[in-house]
């Protein structure tokens, strides 16, 4: 089992990354329980890929480092995605990563459990989870975990965040375990599964 954390935090250290790490720390052992070993966790910091992400749009293909990140995401059993709130929504870098992924591999997130999380300076933006992130990942045909986790600055010194992390990470783990029994998802490789040309021709032939 493998969890990939996608963090769009920009500062070092970043509370966005911190939230991603906290979620992964709870989800990793829960996803494999009762097995003793936790799920593998890989963290992708979008800051390190910022220029490569932009170049995907100007060049039309992802560079090596970004391709590796896309492969990690596509191969994950569960995703934890965390963005800071910028201008009442996810950050542009966060959206650009998933735009570039969608151009390269439109099915990368299909059927994949995704835990959505966000950080912000105030709790006033907490609906960003349900008004921005949830529709984005629904569009990408991911299975979005019911509980999203929003952490405002004040939450780091208040009660309640750990409980929300427990619940969301537990839901992700349950979905990962449940969906993994249904695997492998049929991911169609257009190079391996070519539609024979006669089928294409036949489909265009007028009836009768």
């Amino acid at each position: 089992m493998r969890i990939v954390v996608v963090s769009a935090g920009l500062s070092v250290p970043s509370s966005t990354r911190l939230l991603g790490d906290r979620l992964a720390a709870v989800a990793a052992p829960a996803a494999t329980a009762p097995e003793p070993g936790p799920a593998d966790v890989e963290v992708i910091e979008l800051r390190d890929l910022a220029v490569a992400i932009a170049h995907t749009f100007t060049s039309g293909f992802p560079g090596r480092a970004l391709s590796d990140a896309f492969e990690a995401v596509a191969g994950a059993d569960g995703l934890i995605v965390v963005t800071p709130v910028f201008s009442a929504s996810y950050s542009g870098l966060f959206k650009s990563f998933f735009d570039a992924l969608g151009v390269t591999d439109p099915d990368a997130l299909a059927g994949k459990p995704v835990l959505i999380a966000a950080t912000g300076g105030t709790a006033r933006h907490s609906l960003v989870l349900d008004h921005a992130l949830r529709p984005l990942f629904s569009h990408l045909r991911a299975v979005v975990v019911p509980t999203g986790v929003y952490a405002a600055s004040e939450d780091w010194g208040a009660e309640g965040l750990d409980g929300r992390i427990e619940r969301a990470a537990g839901e992700l783990a349950a979905l990962m375990a449940g969906l993994s029994t249904a695997r492998p998802l049929p991911r169609r490789d257009s190079f391996e599964d070519v539609t024979p040309f006669e089928e294409r021709l036949a489909a265009l032939r007028p009836a009768g």
Partner: protein, 364 residues
């Protein structure tokens, strides 16, 4: 093996002077470039087809017919002919006419086009791109092989008792390449017909080109046209040369940085590391081009993009001198080495005619 050039026909300001050529200047420059290609010993000139500014070549057979009249040896081709939005009947007629005028010195490359609005401008739906390519080419294929065609399809008015004229020269249809950058469906189409497959790899990393070409080769063999190694493959390339590689980089950088397709993106150094673009000495161009064979196998046609991004005509002609004098002779020699005996050359009118006569002889 054939070596040539392909032009997009873009009208782009020269970033070093700010000057934009007129359409007339650009059209005449394309002709001058084609004539130069023959003069320096290249084999092929191909023009793009576009229906929006800043591109001039909307009418490829007009241009190619004119060039045919002024050349002796050069094979005239397209890169690409829009099989989606052109009427296949008109393609059959126009290119058969060109074939006669050029004494068979032509072929053409089918493409879908990547400019969204061209589809509605020509009354088509871009979501049907693959289906249009499939149906229109199926009709074109018949129009050149059957004297009288009855036909009905999804996208075009039916035909009853239609004869496309002129009939192909010597009864031999022009050779067709299918160009596609990212659609396995088109590699499959090329394989089905035993036509050529051209992968315009100039903006793409090698591993992607490898997958497309491998698919085409495997399916070519599946359809019984020969071994995978006998499939007819063409590749693109993009180069800028000076004797001294630093001079090439210095001179080309402003054109690269402002180029319409990849400008304002990765650095020239990053792009040359990831794609076939080579900016340097003729020797570097030779080495890079020879490396294409490592992932595409022995192939039949190599076309270079030489005249884009606002490069002035004078510079392009100098580039063609270098290409013809210093690069292509070495490439011919090197590509011929270790080339398995069964790997064919790109089909030409004489080779196709000889093949047809041989078949007739076998039947008689």
């Amino acid at each position: 093996m054939q070596f040539g050039i392909f032009s997009v026909g873009d009208v782009t300001p020269d970033p070093t002077t700010g000057r934009t050529p007129t359409e007339r200047e650009r059209i005449k420059a394309m002709v001058a470039i084609a004539l130069k290609a023959e003069e320096v010993g290249l084999d092929v000139f191909a023009t793009g087809e576009h229906h929006n500014p800043p591109f001039v070549p909307s009418s490829p057979t007009t241009m190619l017919g004119y060039i045919a009249a002024r050349t002796e040896r050069l094979v005239l081709s397209t890169s690409t002919t829009l099989i989606t939005t052109n009427d296949p009947v008109k393609i059959a007629e126009d290119f058969a006419m060109l074939q006669h005028l050029a004494d068979g010195r032509m072929d053409l490359m089918m493409g879908r086009g990547n400019t969204g609005p061209v589809y509605p401008w020509f009354g088509q739906d871009i979501r049907q791109g693959i289906n249009l390519a499939v149906e229109n080419y199926a009709l074109l294929h018949r129009l050149w092989r059957e004297d009288v065609v009855d036909w009905e399809g999804k996208f075009r008015t039916p035909l009853q008792g239609f004869t496309s004229t002129p009939r192909p020269l010597d009864g031999v249809p022009p050779f067709v390449w299918h160009g596609s950058i990212r659609s396995p469906e088109i590699a499959e189409q090329a394989a089905y017909y035993g036509d050529g497959f051209f992968h315009n790899n100039i903006f793409w990393p090698a591993d992607h080109t490898k997958r497309m070409v491998e698919l085409y080769r495997a399916r070519y063999a599946h359809y019984g046209h020969g071994t995978p190694e006998q499939a007819i493959v063409g590749l693109g390339g993009q180069v800028f040369m000076r004797k001294n590689s630093q001079d090439a980089v210095r001179e080309f950088r402003p054109y690269f940085d402002n180029a319409p397709v990849y400008g304002h993106g990765p650095s020239l150094e990053e792009f040359t590391a990831q794609t076939p673009l080579t900016v340097g000495s003729p020797q570097q161009v030779i080495e890079k081009t020879l490396s294409f064979r490592e992932y595409a196998g022995d192939y039949q046609r190599q076309l270079f993009l030489m005249d884009h991004a606002g490069l002035p005509l004078k510079t392009v002609l100098e580039q063609l001198d270098l290409l013809g004098e210093e690069v292509v002779p070495v490439l011919r020699e090197e590509f011929a080495k270790d080339r398995p005996a069964g790997v064919p050359d790109a089909p030409t009118h004489p080779s196709l005619l000889a093949g047809a006569r041989k078949q007739e002889g076998a039947r008689a």
